[in-house]
Symmetry: C2
Subunit: 377 residues, 2 copies
């Protein structure tokens, strides 16, 4: 059966990138690899819209975020962390494990943090050293207005603006320098369309300065070491060579399409999918939907397991389910990375056929029709 992946990471890897990664491996302390990494370092700046360094680490996105906590802060430092889903929750647990004081802003799943919430937390904790925002919370398909909140934080505090951009980079507009961000992290298996195994960390001048005084213990995730190597287009530890070669190829694609076109494509695909599912009478989960992933309420009474099994075994499609309280209640369709308009038609068509087989009542074809109409606008 033909298989199609619509999950928010890993996302599908373009065939030519896969084959590029399958070429004979090269040694990382050699001019061939130095050439690759030099190009990757340059093109990552374009992806993040920054003139600042973007470091490449061999780890998942979680490791990338951990590197920023341990490299920028010291025990007892206060940080504000927005928890509006599974990942936001992790950025509360992680700094606590390192002895940081964490001011948690709890946000209902499917909602985004408000300026008011951030402002109140900053006023209650003027000692705050950093604020962690999740640009696109994968578990809830919800976007945060990073541009506005960064401005707000900059105007009201002396805290570093730290962004989990893991499922946002390459899908949502992001201008690291212009927006005054200090930290932004992404992973390889998201908008970058590569298998998982690499994390990328952009650092502002303020963030780099903060690294000098940080006293948390660190070694593998010590960004001072990574930055020192970065300056020679090298890495302190053996990097995941084949994945870096893949990223090089993927970044070439991104440059060719143009970052603003990519943002617009993600918006276009997300909008079309949303109008498709709404046309089927389904309800969207998020109040501030992300362009990376669309979470949808399962129809009343429908069994997630049967629904998911049908989608998978009859149509070869893998999507993501709900997590925690929403397990079995919502499903999540990803349109992050290597997707185009016709992929969205495919996805909504399979969704319609599956819903039909699961006994849901609606007019077959209404979803794909809405998708096409959305694209025509």
């Amino acid at each position: 059966m033909k298989k199609r992946l619509f999950t928010p990471g890993p996302t599908p890897v373009p065939e030519h990138v896969m084959l590029k990664m399958a070429e004979p491996i090269i040694h990382h302390r050699n001019p061939e690899f130095n050439e690759v990494l030099t190009r990757v370092n340059q093109n990552l700046k374009y992806l993040f819209q920054t003139e600042q360094p973007v470091l490449t680490l061999t780890s998942s996105g979680t490791g990338g975020v951990e590197s920023t906590f341990v490299s920028l802060f010291s025990p007892g430092d206060t940080i504000i962390s927005v928890n509006g889903g599974k990942f936001g929750e992790r950025w509360v647990k992680l700094p606590k494990a390192y002895g940081l004081k964490v001011v948690e802003i709890k946000v209902e799943w499917g909602k985004a943090p408000t300026a008011q919430q951030i402002l109140e937390a900053l006023r209650a904790h003027p000692e705050t050293k950093g604020v962690y925002l999740t640009h696109s919370e994968t578990s809830t398909g919800t976007a945060t207005d990073v541009k506005a909140l960064s401005k707000l934080i900059r105007e009201n505090a002396n805290a570093l603006v730290c962004v989990d951009g893991i499922t946002a980079v390459g899908a949502h507009e992001l201008r690291f320098d212009e927006w005054g961000l200090d930290v932004c992290v992404t992973g390889s298996q998201k908008g970058l369309m590569i298998p998982p195994g690499l994390a990328f960390v952009a650092l502002s001048k303020r963030a780099i300065a903060a690294m000098e005084t940080s006293t948390l213990p660190k070694f593998y995730f010590d960004l001072r070491k990574a930055l020192k190597s970065y300056e020679k287009n090298d890495t302190p530890w053996t990097p995941a060579v084949s994945l870096v070669v893949g990223v090089d190829s993927a970044l070439e694609m991104l440059r060719a399409e143009g970052i603003e076109n990519i943002w617009r494509r993600h918006e276009r695909l997300a909008t079309a999918v949303r109008s498709g599912v709404v046309a089927l009478g389904l309800k969207l989960f998020s109040e501030f939907p992300s362009y990376a992933v669309t979470p949808v309420w399962l129809p009343e009474g429908m069994d997630w397991k049967v629904f998911n099994k049908t989608l998978k075994s009859k149509y070869g499609i893998t999507i993501a389910g709900g997590q925690d309280d929403y397990a079995g209640k919502i499903f999540r369709i990803s349109h992050l990375g290597y997707y185009d308009e016709l992929d969205m038609v495919t996805m909504v068509a399979a969704l319609e056929m599956t819903l039909k087989e699961c006994g849901y009542k609606f007019e077959l074809g209404a979803g794909v029709q809405a998708v096409l109409k959305s694209f025509a606008q």
Copy 2:
């Protein structure tokens, strides 16, 4: 030009494994991946000759070793660390960064630690919680008698026996359970013949018990989290999916050849290469040569840069140079992983032609002749 890699990591990846990794990516929280990881977990036990868990982490080997320090020990704990090269040196610096008391056993490059040295350190520091040994020190191509030293440590102390097996696993005999080891770490880009990006950590019952009382801060490298997920053939963070798929395929090859045959093959190849270089009048660097990599003194007066450039640009061969004090003085030929007898003939033939071109005087063909004779024995 046909390119050939003779470096001690990354090592060449078998073509069919590369193509397996180039297949459409699967999602890590899905039955397809669970099946792969279940098989990998099972076969890793075979590789390490253990009934204990072998955890798979997404990081370089250094990250794997870091995970054992932060997960097993607490600030102020004393550990003994053998420093006989670049990697041993790292296992001194790393625990110090985490506030452990490190008793360093300095060993001259090219020599192995003696029983006497270990015993003296243990007697001087009866409070020692762990002893770190490097089974095969990559920078010096030197092997440590882990079997004997493990027995010695077990008989004379209550310390955990921790082994950096990064370039040894799959090349040198290793019997984790039988030898009473507590920790053994390897990386994917070594004997496992996969691109870099994964580390593997075997843990004894004593090591697992030590994790319960460890108070060092940790999150990404928290082996308690990894172990909990492992029990469900899962991982706490997004793993490097494509590399795990590759490891699955590589472990199948290892099982088919048989681990004891693999150890013997590495011994055979290492022995042949050594007799080849000696027949050319070159001098071996190590007193206790590893089966993974053979370091050789450059002939008096030969320029490493010219030598290396000739080998690379004329014969497409990449080897490793010397590090630190031995940069420009030695070169290192790897025979770790996916190599056979004819590869050694190839390597020594290229070495001979390169030496000739660099003006070194010897009887052309003496090296390959010695290699063939070594295999015939």
